[in-house]
């Protein structure tokens, strides 16, 4: 749990001294009830080139419930895993894919078009078996190095290394956002997401930019201390100016960076580091939020899931790829609550991307794709002991 602020403690003490009934104070002195345990993914499967992926270096993963498949962007091609047949189909440059490195995938829910961010190759639309290619030479795409894309209504947003582009698929109009028309101190866009009426750009060196879709007004979240080498206070704002991802769910903003992660509910910020939470490492390549209380972080030392923000309860998944073993460590604050033997889970500990698929979770790594099967998943915490758990 978050350490209580001294001022809150003082206020609580003041309130308790004025309570009319002493029983309330006695109740407060009791040990806190066990808040319960989070759901732990204990069933995993792994997909690699042996299963038909074009490459094991996974840069993007996107569940497609409508087609009952999962799209996978790799360092050398696009793949689609059919969940029913368990077969993988793939496309490389020889098959019409405009560029080999697929770093971003999103699906237009209205048309079913699959949009692809290509690392150094621009943007592509995969529709009806055909790839349409958009580059900085034939469109309004600001740069061909595309890190992330997000579908927002009629728009395709692209986070590129030299600004963000927004393509209106109905009007063919492109908008470019750089330091000239948005509060970007630097233009090095790293990620983009669109949820709940807002677009968030994670900008390397410029924090998080939030655009209200209705008004198109921008808001910026910077590191309040303004220093690269320190985080002055844990909960004072965005954790660092170099951010790698920002996802907005249920009016809560989750942010990842190479320096830790944080959460903002519109009023309060909370930072999470590897020394005060179950975050496996402060070096976080990406994130995906499931709700206001749950977010998963792709770190360089495992997959970290904040399962309940209020109690700072995490589950981190790590594996030993050589021996095909793995474990999930449940932590509250910086204390290990349980270690669960999951068997082989994520195929590699260097996590790059993550997506949810109903109750399931998909994790793209440096050496293959992991699929956590979430049968019986429940959000937040429950007082149910895991059958295969053991104490640390």
């Amino acid at each position: 749990m978050y350490p209580p602020h001294p001022r809150l403690l003082a206020l609580a003490a003041l309130l308790f001294t004025n309570l009319p009934h002493p029983a309330a104070a006695i109740d407060a002195a009791k040990p806190a009830a066990d808040p319960g345990l989070p759901y732990v993914y204990t069933k995993w499967e792994q997909l690699t080139t042996k299963d038909g992926l074009p490459n094991d270096h996974i840069f993007a993963v996107k569940a497609d419930p409508t087609r009952n498949c999962v799209w996978i962007g790799t360092e050398d091609g696009l793949a689609c895993y059919d969940k029913e047949t368990k077969k993988i189909r793939s496309w490389q440059e020889k098959d019409g894919l405009p560029w080999r490195v697929v770093t971003a995938i999103d699906i237009d829910p209205r048309t079913g078009d699959v949009w692809l961010g290509l690392f150094g190759g621009g943007l592509a639309r995969f529709s009806a078996g055909r790839f349409d290619h958009f580059s900085q030479l034939n469109s309004g795409l600001v740069n061909d190095v595309v890190y992330a894309i997000a579908i927002e209504g009629d728009h395709v947003w692209c986070a590129t290394t030299a600004g963000a582009s927004r393509y209106n698929t109905k009007t063919d109009k492109w908008d470019i956002f750089t330091e000239k028309n948005a509060p970007m101190e630097e233009i090095w866009n790293y990620n983009v997401s669109a949820h709940d009426g807002k677009v968030h750009l994670a900008v390397w060196g410029s924090g998080v930019l939030e655009q209200d879709i209705k008004t198109e007004n921008w808001k910026v979240y910077l590191d309040p201390d303004g220093e690269m080498e320190i985080d002055l206070y844990r909960d004072d704002g965005n954790i660092h100016v170099i951010v790698t991802g920002a996802v907005y769910r249920e009016k809560v903003l989750w942010i990842s960076s190479y320096f830790g992660v944080c959460r903002y509910d519109g009023r309060h910020w909370h930072g999470f580091y590897d020394h005060d939470s179950g975050l496996p490492s402060n070096f976080t390549n990406n994130l995906m939020a499931r709700s206001a209380h749950e977010a998963w972080f792709a770190t360089d030392k495992g997959l970290g899931a904040c399962m309940d923000d209020a109690t700072n309860t995490w589950v981190s998944y790590t594996s030993d790829g050589d021996h095909h073993t793995g474990k999930a460590v449940i932590m509250r604050d910086n204390k290990v609550i349980q270690v669960v033997d999951t068997g082989y889970n994520v195929p590699h500990n260097f996590q790059i991307c993550v997506d949810f698929d109903g109750q399931d979770v998909w994790a793209g790594t440096s050496k293959g794709l992991g699929h956590g099967i979430g049968k019986g998943y429940y959000p937040r915490l429950r007082p149910a002991p895991a059958s295969n758990a053991k104490s640390p």
């Binding site: 690392f119 740069n143 190095v145 600004g163 690269m228 320190i230 170099i242 360089d300 030993d320 050496k367």
Partner: protein, 491 residues
């Protein structure tokens, strides 16, 4: 003298195939591995065969103080920070070490990214910043190192030559990122040397991080370059933070000036180049009285100087290109102002001297190394460079030579695996013995060696260490800030 081979591609890339020719053998000033190099390789190599899933069981570098910062200039000195970064070396934990060497390789390609040709760049805010001279010098130093390695047999494990693949980082529309993509996937380089402009280099190293390729910069002195926490980037030259610290210590602690002002280029180089001057002066209780930017290439500074005059500064800090520095200086002296003019290493150039003329006398520059150092290795390099290129090597050429030799050393030992090449440099505990002097890498893989002041005295640049001039330094506390009993300020 045409120093370039004909371009092979119509785009901005130019490729140099540096085979071990008789001519280059004659030019070669051997860059042989010394005993330290051999011992370091022997200590690191057995730990690198981890396969796809493990990490080398080698200790990570740890520093007790970030960037050798004195307590009185540490940010928020009165407060113990919640977290301090960059004290423990970043790890690479990916699968790259398991990738086998390719079977068929004709040459071992090393990438070069630098400003070779002028153009327009979004990243740099418009027209490129006249950095081509610096970029070409950097490329010459890199080329010489490659040629010398080839003269000694090239990549010794396979007896094939190294090949330099040159790309321009002033490409259109901030496309330095695309240049790195091309180098990694089309040219298939094993490591990259380069970067001068901070904006272009930041774009490029973000790509290098994703692609996982080692990046050595001999020319980008932007402190934030290594503050990105990328485990693939390293720097073989003292950065602007260190130059700032020394200049501030000289001006404020030694000379006792009290009303500093800043006049700088308005681009990212100027903006980030003075951060520690601005912060250092303020933390030493003499805040900058006025800071004025100008547009690179400007000739009229009357607006800036009129404004500065209102604040009556007693010392002027400047950050910008050499030619800009000279024009600014001339404008200052034309007004009869006598304040000391302290500036960056780019003023130590022929261009600066030609434009500044007699005004150059007394100018003080931060400088990342001591070129007057007596070292047979440095003398041999100078001679080889003069023979090869017909000019004296400047600081960019010299550091590029060192940085390239560091990469070559790593490749010779690690083999053709990008992660292991990175590891060789990252896990090395002893400094590299370069022609610029010893290059000890910090936990952030930044050059933690000494920096110097270049002072124009009697028509010559004279290089002084901190000790030479008796420049005081604030107390450096060798303990992480979060572990100290009290906050860092210790005035």
């Amino acid at each position: 003298m045409n120093t370039f081979p004909p371009a092979r591609r119509s785009v901005s890339a130019r490729r140099l195939l540096c085979a071990a020719t008789a001519a280059s053998l004659l030019l070669a000033a051997p860059a042989q591995a010394d005993k330290t190099d051999d011992a370091q390789a022997a200590a690191i190599l057995p730990h690198l065969d981890t396969g796809y899933y493990d990490r080398p069981d080698l200790p990570l570098k740890q520093n007790e103080n970030y960037a050798n910062s004195s307590a009185d200039v540490e940010p928020y000195g009165g407060v113990k920070p919640y977290k301090e970064h960059f004290l423990v070396q970043m790890e690479y934990t990916g699968a790259g070490r398991g990738i086998p060497e390719p079977e068929h390789v004709d040459t071992v390609r090393i990438g070069f990214l630098g400003p070779i040709k002028p153009t327009v760049s979004v990243a740099t805010g418009g027209k490129s910043h006249n950095e081509e001279k610096l970029g070409i010098a950097m490329m010459q130093g890199t080329t010489l190192a490659i040629e010398q390695a080839n003269a000694q047999g090239g990549y010794l494990k396979r007896h094939i030559p190294f090949e330099l693949v040159v790309h321009n980082d002033n490409a259109l529309w901030g496309a330095s990122g695309s240049e790195v993509v091309d180098m990694a996937y089309k040219d298939k380089v094993w490591a990259i040397v380069g970067g001068i402009d901070g904006a272009n280099t930041h774009i490029a190293i973000r790509v290098a991080l994703k692609i996982e390729i080692p990046w050595m910069t001999p020319g980008d002195l932007d402190p934030t370059y290594i503050e990105t926490n990328i485990p693939w980037v390293m720097r073989c030259v003292g950065d602007d933070r260190q130059l700032n610290y020394l200049l501030v210590d000289y001006a404020m602690r030694k000379m006792g000036y009290k009303r500093p002002c800043i006049l700088r280029s308005g681009n990212r180089y100027g903006r980030f180049g003075v951060r520690e001057i601005r912060d250092g002066c303020r933390r030493l209780e003499h805040p900058i009285v006025c800071e004025m930017p100008y547009k690179g290439g400007a000739t009229d500074f009357s607006m800036q100087l009129d404004r500065i005059a209102e604040y009556k500064p007693d010392v002027i800090f400047h950050w910008g290109n050499g030619a800009d520095a000279a024009r600014v200086l001339n404008a200052i002296r034309a007004r009869g102002w006598k304040q000391p003019f302290l500036t960056c290493d780019r003023a130590v150039s022929d261009e600066f001297l030609q434009i500044a003329g007699a005004n150059a006398e007394g100018v003080i520059c931060g400088y990342p190394w001591d070129p007057e150092r007596k070292d047979p290795k440095l003398a041999a390099f100078r001679e080889a460079f003069r023979k090869r290129w017909g000019v004296e090597p400047d600081t960019y050429a010299t550091h590029a030579y060192d940085g390239t030799n560091m990469i070559i050393w790593a490749i010779q030992n690690a083999g053709l695996n990008r992660a292991k090449i990175r590891d060789m440099i990252a896990f090395r505990t002893e400094p590299f013995h370069g022609v610029t002097g010893d290059i000890p890498l910090s936990s952030a893989m930044d050059d933690a060696g000494d920096v110097f002041l270049a002072i124009r005295e009697n028509g010559k640049w004279v290089y002084h260490s901190r000790e030479d001039l008796g420049i005081p330094r604030g107390k450096v506390i060798e303990k992480p800030r979060v572990e100290r009993d009290v906050a860092s300020a210790d005035k």
